[in-house]
C-alpha cells in the first residue's frame, strides 16, 4: 500500500458544554476548544502504522476555513506526510464528501480512511458518500483493519456482533475504537509539522442538499427521586408503576 488519504474534521472538545446563540440557530463557539475529531485520530493512527517504515505516505484532508489549520498541524505532528485543506466551510456531509472525492479523483489513493462519525453533527455519512462518488466499496463502522498488498481484512460492527470482510483496494472505511490507539505527537513531530506541506485548494462548486435550520437542547429532567439503599423493592415498584419501564 502506498498512498492513504485520511479525512479529518475539526470539532469541539469532548468536554464542551453545548450552547447556541441567535435564537438557537448558531452553535456558540465562544470559549470552545476545537480538537481533531477523536475517531479521525484513530483513522490517522492506523494509516501511519500501515505506511510505517517508508512503505507509503499519509495525506490528511480537511474541508474547512483557515481556523482549522491548528488541527491540521496536529495531524501533521502526529505523523501525516502532508495535508490538504479545501478552503470552504464544511456545509454538510454531501458538500464535504464531494470536495474530497474531487480531490481524490485527481490524486488517486489506495485507501481512504475517516472516523466513524464526527462528534459534532454525528453524521457517519462522508465515508459512504465518498465510496459512492468514487464507485468503490465503503465499510463502516470498522473495529479492525489488516492489510496485504492488494486487499484488507476488516472487522465491521453489526448489531449484537461483528462481521469479518475482505475488501480489495481502493476502498473507504469509517474507523472506530479498536482499529488503532491514537498517537500522541512527540516534540520532533511537533517541530517537523511546521515545515510539512499544507496545500490549500479552492473548492469546486456544488449544490448543497441539506441545511441546519435550528438547534434544540434536551429537555431538562426533574429532580431526582432518591431512594434508600435498603429499599430496592421501592425502586423496582416505581419503575413498574410510575415510570412503566419494566
Amino acid at each position: 500500500m502506498s498512498k492513504i488519504l485520511v479525512g479529518i474534521s475539526n470539532v469541539p472538545d469532548t468536554t464542551t458544554k453545548i450552547t447556541f446563540t441567535d435564537n438557537n440557530t448558531q452553535f456558540n463557539t465562544n470559549g470552545v476548544q476545537f480538537i481533531l475529531n477523536p475517531y479521525d485520530e484513530i483513522a490517522l493512527a492506523r494509516a501511519i502504522e500501515l505506511t510505517d517504515g517508508g512503505k507509503g505516505s499519509v495525506t490528511v484532508i480537511n474541508v474547512g476555513e483557515a481556523n482549522t489549520e491548528a488541527t491540521i498541524r496536529k495531524a501533521l505532528a502526529i505523523g501525516a506526510t502532508d495535508a490538504v485543506r479545501i478552503n470552504a466551510k464544511a456545509h454538510d456531509a454531501w458538500y464535504v464528501a464531494y470536495q474530497i472525492a474531487e480531490y481524490a479523483k485527481a490524486n488517486p489513493f489506495d485507501l481512504i480512511l475517516t472516523g466513524r462519525e464526527s462528534i459534532d453533527y454525528n453524521g457517519s455519512k462522508v465515508a459512504g458518500m465518498l465510496g459512492e462518488l468514487l464507485d468503490i466499496p465503503s465499510v463502516s463502522i470498522i473495529k479492525k483493519l489488516d492489510a496485504t498488498e492488494t486487499e484488507a481484512t476488516v472487522e465491521r460492527e453489526i448489531e449484537g456482533g461483528k462481521e469479518v470482510l475482505t475488501v480489495p483496494f481502493p476502498f473507504v472505511a469509517g474507523c472506530a475504537e479498536g482499529v488503532a490507539e491514537p498517537k500522541i505527537p512527540n516534540m520532533r513531530g511537533i517541530m517537523g509539522a511546521r515545515t510539512k506541506p499544507l496545500n490549500v485548494v479552492e473548492p469546486v462548486e456544488v449544490e448543497t442538499l441539506s441545511e441546519i435550520i435550528s438547534y434544540e437542547t434536551p429537555a431538562p429532567r426533574g429532580q431526582v427521586n432518591l431512594i434508600s439503599a435498603d429499599d430496592t423493592a421501592k425502586l423496582v415498584n416505581l419503575l413498574h408503576t410510575e415510570a412503566k419501564v419494566i
Binding site: 462528534i119 458518500m129 481484512t153 448489531e159 449484537g160 461483528k162 475504537e177 438547534y215 432518591l226
Partner: protein, 325 residues
C-alpha cells in the same frame, strides 16, 4: 410519489427497530397522502414479509437472491436505489443501525437526496419546507435539518418512534435485480453474532457500569441484573479503555449513543462525555456511593450507596418482582 422503507433483517428476522421504521415511514406516507412500499433483501419467511403490512406497508418487495443473502453495503444500496426509482419513491426510510448508517450516504448520492441520519421525530412539512430533527453533538443537542433536495433519505434512531399497528397483511412481490458486478467487491468471511445477548443499540433496557465496579471480575452481578431485565450490558469509557469490557459496550460521546426506555448506571460518575451518549434515555436510574456524583443531576431515580451492597439487593428485588408478576 411514494415512500420506500428498507426493512432490515438480522439473520432472516425483522427486529423491533424495523417495525419502528416501518411505522415511521407509514406516518410520512400519510403526511404526503401517498403509499408506503417496503423492500426486504435476504432470506425472510413469506409470513414475516406479509406481516410488514401490519405496520403500514401496502406492498412488500422481496429480493431473494443468493448473492444478496448477507448484507453487502454497495450492492444493497444499488438494489434499494433501483427499487426507489422503479416505484417513484421520493422519500427512503431506513433504520439508523450499523448497516443503515452504511446505506444512507450511498443512497443519498445515488438519489441526489439530502440525508437526515439519526432522526428522532417525524419530519415537519410546512410551506414547502421539509425538516427533520436529528441528534447532534453526540446527544448533547438536537439539530433541525432542512432537506432541500427533491429526494430525501431518512435514517431513524432506534427506540425513538413507537411501533404502530395500523393495517393487515400486505401482498409480497418478488423484486428481481441485476446488481452490477462491481458492487460485489466485498467478501464476507465470517459473521459472529451472539444470539443470546440483547444488542446494545436496540435495547429497551440498558444496565451500565463504571469504575465503581473496581474490576472485570465483578461484572457477574451486572450481567445477572441485565439478564433478569432482558437488558443489554454497557460500560463507561474508562472501563473499556482499561480492557475490562469490550469497546462495543462503551456508551458515551466517543462510543455508542443509546436511547433505551430505562438506563441503569452503576458506579459511573456521569462525566459530560458519558451523559452525551445516554441523554435521550427515557428513564435514568443512578446508583453511586458519591451523593455528589454529577450523574444524579440528570437521573430520574437514584440510590446513594456502594454498588457492592446495592446491586445484590436490587437483584433480589427484581427477582421478587419477577416472581410475583
Amino acid at each position: 410519489m411514494s415512500v420506500l422503507i428498507y426493512a432490515e433483517n438480522a439473520d432472516g428476522k425483522f427486529k423491533k427497530s424495523t417495525f419502528e421504521a416501518v411505522s415511521y415511514a407509514k406516518a410520512i406516507a400519510a403526511q404526503n397522502n401517498t403509499s408506503l412500499i417496503a423492500i426486504s433483501i435476504g432470506d425472510v419467511a413469506k409470513d414475516d414479509l406479509a406481516a410488514l403490512g401490519k405496520y403500514g406497508a401496502e406492498k412488500v418487495l422481496n429480493v431473494s437472491n443468493d448473492k444478496l443473502k448477507n448484507f453487502l453495503n454497495q450492492a444493497y444500496a444499488s438494489v434499494i436505489a433501483e427499487a426507489a426509482k422503479a416505484n417513484g419513491a421520493d422519500v427512503v426510510v431506513l433504520s439508523n443501525s450499523f448497516s443503515g448508517r452504511g446505506l444512507a450516504p450511498r443512497l443519498g448520492v445515488k438519489l441526489q437526496a439530502g440525508v437526515a441520519d439519526g432522526a428522532v421525530a417525524l419530519p415537519v412539512q410546512d410551506g414547502g419546507k421539509f425538516t427533520v430533527k436529528k441528534t447532534a453533538f453526540s446527544g448533547k443537542a438536537f439539530a433541525v435539518v432542512e432537506l432541500t433536495s427533491v429526494n430525501k433519505v431518512i435514517a431513524l434512531t432506534p427506540n425513538s418512534y413507537k411501533v404502530v399497528e395500523s393495517g393487515a397483511e400486505a401482498p409480497v412481490e418478488d423484486f428481481t435485480t441485476e446488481a452490477k458486478a462491481s458492487d460485489f467487491k466485498e467478501m464476507i468471511k465470517d459473521i459472529l453474532r451472539s444470539t443470546d445477548k440483547v444488542s446494545l443499540p436496540d435495547a429497551e433496557i440498558v444496565v451500565s457500569a463504571g469504575r465503581g465496579l473496581k474490576g472485570p471480575e465483578n461484572w457477574g452481578m451486572v450481567e445477572e441484573l441485565a439478564d433478569l431485565l432482558g437488558a443489554a450490558t454497557a460500560c463507561s469509557k474508562p472501563v473499556s479503555d482499561a480492557g475490562w469490557r469490550p469497546h462495543s459496550e462503551h456508551v458515551g460521546q466517543t462510543g455508542i449513543a443509546v436511547s433505551p426506555n430505562l438506563y441503569i448506571a452503576i458506579g459511573i460518575s456521569g462525566a459530560i462525555q458519558h451523559l452525551a451518549g445516554i441523554s435521550s434515555s427515557k428513564v435514568i436510574v443512578v446508583i453511586n456511593k458519591d451523593a455528589e456524583a454529577p450523574f444524579f443531576k440528570v437521573a430520574d431515580y437514584g440510590i446513594v450507596g456502594d454498588a457492592f451492597e446495592v446491586l445484590p439487593k436490587l437483584i433480589a428485588a427484581v427477582k421478587e418482582y419477577k416472581a410475583s408478576a
